[in-house]
Structures are given as C-alpha cells and as structure tokens.
C-alpha cells in the first residue's frame, strides 16, 4: 500500500516536513505564557515608537524634518526590498536574489540612460527582466523539487555575474534629475515636501496588504506556506502562486535598484549587497515566521522601520559601521528571542 499519496511524494523535502512542524493542537501552557505571547505579538508595533523616542533622547538634533525624512528614506528602500520577501516567506520560501536584482537594475538604469535610451523603455526592460528572473526561480524550484532558498541563491550568482560583466570597467552613468530627488532628503513629490520614494512605499504597502488579504492569490499564498501538501489537494494553484510572489519580489528589488541609481548616479552592481540579509531581518523582526503561512506585510513595515531606526541610532550615537553590524547581530538574536521562538519538540507531538 502506498502512503503518502503520489501528490505528496513529489514535493521537495522542506515543504512536506513543514506540516509536521506546525502546531495543530494546544498552545503554550498557563496564563502568563498567553499574556507573553500576546505581548510578543505586539512587540514590533511597540518598538517603532520606543526606538524613535530613544533616538530623540540620545541623538542631538534628531527631531528635525531632515533626519526623520532620512530615516524614512532608509526605511522605504528596505521596506520596498522586503515587500516581495515577505510574500515569498509567507509562501514558505525565501528570496536570496534580491541584492543581485537590485544591482542589475542599478546598472541597467544608469548605463542605458547614459546612452540616451528612453525611460519608459528602460523601465519596461527592467520589469520584464525582473519577471523573468522571478519566474525562473519559481519554476526551477517546482520542477527541480528544490527549496527556493537554493534556486534564488543560484539565480543571485547568475544575475550578479551578469551585472558585473555588464558593468565591467564602466564608470559612466546618468540618471534623470527627478530620480535623484526622489531619494533625496530635500526632494519633493509634486507639491508634497516628501521625497517620492516614501510615497511610493506608502502606496505599495497599502496595495501589498490588500493583495494578501483580499485577493485569491493572497489567500492561496498563506495556504501554500502553511501546508504545501494540503494546498495542492485543496486545488491551490501552487506553481502560479510561486511565480507571482517571486516575480513581485524581483520587481520590488528592481524598483529599489532604480531608486539606488538615483542615489549615486553611477553604475554599481554591488549596491544591493547589504540587503542580502537585511530583508530577511526586517521580515523576521516584524514577526512574520520563517515557517510560512502566517504574518503579513504590515509587520514587515514595522520591521523595516525598526531596522532603519536601529541603524540610524547606532550611527547617530557614533558607532562605526563595523560596530553597527556587530550590534545588529546581537539585536537580531535578542529580539527574536522575545517573539520569534520556535516550539519545543514536546509541543509538536
């Protein structure tokens, strides 16, 4: 007799074991644990204002429009990069190709604009490439029965190789002026004295939350991440969901690459490198579980704000980049200890 069904047997290992790791009965014992669980759920939302207040206390001149805007720009860039990442994580996967796509997008914008290509064409090209990259990652993961961690990892090697090759030796690049002001602290969006990147982030956030909660694909994403086997049996369009979320992730990364191009104006394929882990950090700190099937983009928005605030706080207090990294490492561990803990083995039985 065969058990499990052929449907289950074709799934890659990480997804099938996830079902067993999810709690299906029982929750933490006793009342204090329940209170603690609720508190830790709300912690990201609490930390955002708390960190802000700490920053105001410890950094002179922090409470000014310029520094708040700078903070929001930082958060916007991280938040946008993490938008797709949130979805891929909820779907039970992960996207490690975000920095590579950011770099590629940066290269394409700066170099092609320098060569007088028209902007709409450049953007279309970048979008098409992003969708292609995301689709390949997703389809490869399905066909090869392999976790997207690996396929996106492989794609990142491929894409960054291409980006490096393309930009080999090139130092010339140009970007339109409005792009530069979109990420500048003194930039405006029309009459509003806020740089465009922040507005774009705000709009994107609303769309993302709406997408996850009110569309069929959004709900299917949660189902897929919660239990891939049951999702297939429940006629969830698993492959399509993966293609969509990974394409969105790549598109967001491409968008951030365009903004980064606005920052510096010169081609820099490595500009996305810090984001290799920062997007995962933002998602995790926001409280979305790496296990999949739970969380949401609003949490990542909080996470991005927290990471931006922490970075700003550390810089403002005078810590070097090295120390920041060190401190970030410790903070990641500490914060996750409060609200990102996994179940005990005993609780999974």
């Amino acid at each position: 007799m065969t058990d499990p069904t052929p449907v289950a047997a074709t799934d890659g290992p990480p997804e099938t074991s996830r079902a067993a790791r999810q709690p299906v009965g029982g929750s933490p014992s006793n009342l204090t644990a329940v209170v603690a669980a609720n508190f830790t759920n709300a912690l990201p939302y609490i930390l955002v204002p708390v960190l802000f207040i700490l920053s105001v206390i410890f950094i002179p001149g922090y409470f000014s429009k310029a520094s708040i805007i700078s903070l929001l720009i930082l958060a916007s860039l991280l938040g946008l990069s993490s938008l797709g990442q949130t979805m891929t994580i909820i779907a039970g996967g992960i996207d490690l190709s975000i920095p590579a796509v950011i770099g590629l997008s940066d290269i394409i914008v700066t170099q092609l604009y320098y060569k007088h290509w028209s902007l709409p064409v450049i953007f279309l090209l970048i979008a098409a490439l992003a969708i292609l990259i995301g689709t390949i990652s997703a389809v490869a993961s399905v066909l090869l029965r392999v976790h997207s961690l690996i396929t996106t990892f492989g794609m990142s090697l491929i894409v960054s190789g291409i980006a490096l090759e393309w930009s080999n030796g090139a130092v010339n690049g140009a970007v339109p002026g409005w792009l530069t002001s979109s990420v500048s602290a003194i930039g405006k969006t029309g009459p509003i004295p806020i740089p465009a990147v922040i507005i774009v982030w705000a709009v994107a956030s609303v769309l993302a939350v709406f997408f996850m909660n009110r569309t069929r694909i959004g709900r299917e994403t949660y189902a897929l991440g919660a239990n891939a086997v049951a999702a297939r049996l429940a006629t969830v369009r698993s492959t399509w969901v993966k293609v969509v979320v990974f394409s969105i992730s790549a598109l967001c990364a491409a968008l951030v690459g365009i903004f980064f191009a606005g920052y510096s104006g010169i081609p820099d394929p490595t500009v996305g490198e810090p984001y290799f882990f920062l997007t995962i950090t933002a998602v995790m700190i926001g409280g979305t579980s790496l296990l999949g099937g739970r969380g949401g983009y609003l949490r990542t928005v909080m996470g991005a704000l927290i990471v931006a605030e922490l970075t700003t706080l550390l810089v403002g207090v005078g810590f070097s980049a090295s120390f920041q990294e060190l401190a970030l490492g410790i903070l990641v561990i500490l914060l996750t200890s409060t609200y990102g803990r996994e179940l005990k083995v005993a609780a999974k039985i």
């Binding site: 990480p14 090869l144 894409v159 960054s160 090759e165 882990f277 995962i280 990294e325 410790i330 561990i333």
Partner: protein
C-alpha cells in the same frame, strides 16, 4: 504473513548486513563521486601541471578552507529542522583576525594557537547550539546574528587586512616532503570522525534530522545533540580559519562571507539532503572538492571572473536538480519493487 515478506525486496544474496548498511548509508555519494571523478580528469586534461607536486600542494592549500567550512556546514544541516550555520564563513574570517591581530601581538606564537582556536570554535558553536536548541531561535536567524556579529567584530578589531602570522602556520600550506601538510590536517579530522562513526553519534544525528519528534519520544536528548552538533561544526570552521590564516598570511575580517556561500553550495553538491536526516561528513568534503575543481577548471579555461559567478549559480541549481531527481527515482523504483 506471506504477503508481508513478498512485498519486501529480497536483499541480494552476497550482501551481508554490514555491507548493505555501508552502501545504504553512503548511497547519497553516488552522484558527487561521479562528478568528482569527471572533474578531476577534466582538470588533468586541461591543465597537465595540475598533477604536479607543487601544484598539488598549492591546490590543497586553497581547497582546505573550502572543504572545512563545507564540513562545518554539513553537520547542522544533517540535524534537520531547518538546521544551518550561516556563521561558518565570518567565524573563519574572524579567526584570521584573532590570530594575526590578537594572539600574535600578545606574544602567543607557538603551536598553542591550535588548541586555543579549536576551543574558540567549540565555544562559538556551542553558543549557536544553545540559541537554537534551548532558546529555540530558528537556526537561520541565530546563525545570521552570529554572522553579523563576527563580521562586525572582525572588521572592528582589524579594519585593514594585515597583522603577522607565525612561520609554522604558513608552512602548513606547504609540504612535509612529498606530502602536502594539509593532508595531515584532513587525516586527523578523518580519524576523529571515524572514531565517532563507530559510536552512536551519527545514528542519533541522522535520526534527529529524520524526525526530531520520533527521536525525542524514543528518548534521545535532542537539545543536547544539537548543541554538540553545532559545537563540532564550530570547531571545524575554526580549523578552517586556522588554515585560512596560513593561506592569506595575515588577518582579514572580510574574507569570511564567500565561504558561507561556498559551503552551502558544497553541501548541495555533496548529495546531502537540505532538510536533514540523510548524508554525512564525507559528502561535505567531496562537495567542497567538486566546487574547487569547478573553479579550477573555469580559471584554467580563462573564463572571466564574472562568468565564473554565473556558472557557479547554474552549477548549484543543476547539482540540486540532479540530486533531487536521483532521490525521486530511487524512491520510485524502491516503492515499485514493493508492489
């Protein structure tokens, strides 16, 4: 019941249980070994000096940290439940800083560095293990935190590459007579691992990786096993750092990250299941060697540095595809034989 027996595939007459166990335990190495042989021959053809003694020693020296970090990554992955150690690279990088910028300037230049480094690795690994097994952080997060910590610490202590290393350490990348010194290192590790495999640790490790709940309810101390596993991984990463120090002849806090990436690739190339429960340390070693040989081949063929990155990515995906397909076919044929 007759039907029970008939549904089981009858083992071939010559295979004693010991031989069968050996084959079964190591069947995951089939594809990696094939790749190893092919690449070795390819390298020898493209670059005949590859087989020369000097080239041999130099190759081994470069290979060493890659293989050791791959082995360091293998153990946590085998333990399952999302086990991984992202900090292997930065920790190895930090060891170079520790030796070149802390120990040597403090006057510690003799071979006593070796046990110091190993103890450091064991402790760091144990910390990872505690965070994962007792504090119950997801492994990717805990080791990510440690990754950032070591990166930051390394570049904070030694902002620019430099420092000095004792001569004996540099010599480790040379040869003692015809034998590359690195082989001694590998031999020692092999002996230690062989001793371990005679005992119950690998069995317990693979059982926990297979299903930690089964292991737990059967009485295995899963948490303690995880701490031990990450400690051993940490020790291996530390030794990688030691050899790396000799290779770059100094300290450099930035050399770490590529080794984390190559370690993951190597584990995949080594036929090890990323979900845990299947594979072994040898897979990590072979995977690391395969990766090294691929790099060599590409360099010999004068492929541009960037194209190498692209090829690495493709190789990774293909290796996993192959792995996954072989697994799938294996299960299908075995299930079909059962009727």
């Amino acid at each position: 019941m007759a039907s029970v027996a008939s549904r089981q595939a009858r083992p071939p007459a010559l295979a004693t249980p010991a031989v069968r166990q050996l084959v079964q335990r190591n069947s995951y190495l089939a594809v990696p070994l094939a790749m190893l042989v092919v690449l070795f021959i390819a390298n020898a053809i493209v670059q005949p000096q590859f087989l020369s003694q000097q080239s041999w020693a130099a190759s081994m020296a470069v290979l060493c940290p890659t293989v050791l970090t791959a082995m360091a990554m293998t153990l946590p992955i085998l333990s399952g439940n999302g086990g991984i150690d992202l900090s292997v690279g930065p920790m190895a990088g930090f060891i170079t800083v520790l030796i070149a910028a802390v120990l040597v300037p403090a006057g510690i230049t003799s071979q006593v560095i070796i046990p110091i480094v190993i103890v450091f690795g064991l402790t760091s690994g144990a910390l990872n293990g505690v965070l994962i097994a007792y504090v119950r952080l997801p492994a990717i997060i805990a080791t990510l935190g440690m990754y950032l910590f070591y990166q930051g610490l390394g570049t904070e202590v030694l902002p620019e590459a430099g420092g000095s290393v004792p001569v004996w350490l540099v010599k480790l990348d040379g040869s003692y007579g015809p034998i590359p010194a690195v082989w001694v290192v590998f031999a020692v590790i092999a002996v230690i691992w062989l001793l371990l495999t005679r005992g119950s640790y690998p069995r317990n490790l693979l059982s926990v990786g297979g299903d930690e709940r089964a292991a737990y309810t059967a009485g295995v101390n899963v948490s303690r096993l995880r701490v031990v596993t990450y400690s051993l991984g940490g020790a291996l990463a530390a030794i990688a750092g030691l050899m790396l120090t000799g290779l770059i002849q100094g300290g450099d806090g930035t050399v770490g990250p590529p080794y984390t990436i190559s370690a993951i690739t190597a584990v995949a190339l080594g036929g090890i299941a990323l979900a845990g429960g299947r594979g072994g340390l040898l897979g990590g070693a072979i995977g690391g060697t395969v990766l090294f040989l691929i790099q060599e081949l590409l360099t010999d063929a004068h492929v541009s540095v960037y194209a190498v990155s692209v090829v690495n990515g493709i190789i990774l995906i293909l290796a996993l595809a192959l792995n996954g397909t072989v697994e799938y076919l294996r299960r299908r044929t075995l299930a079909a034989k059962r009727g």
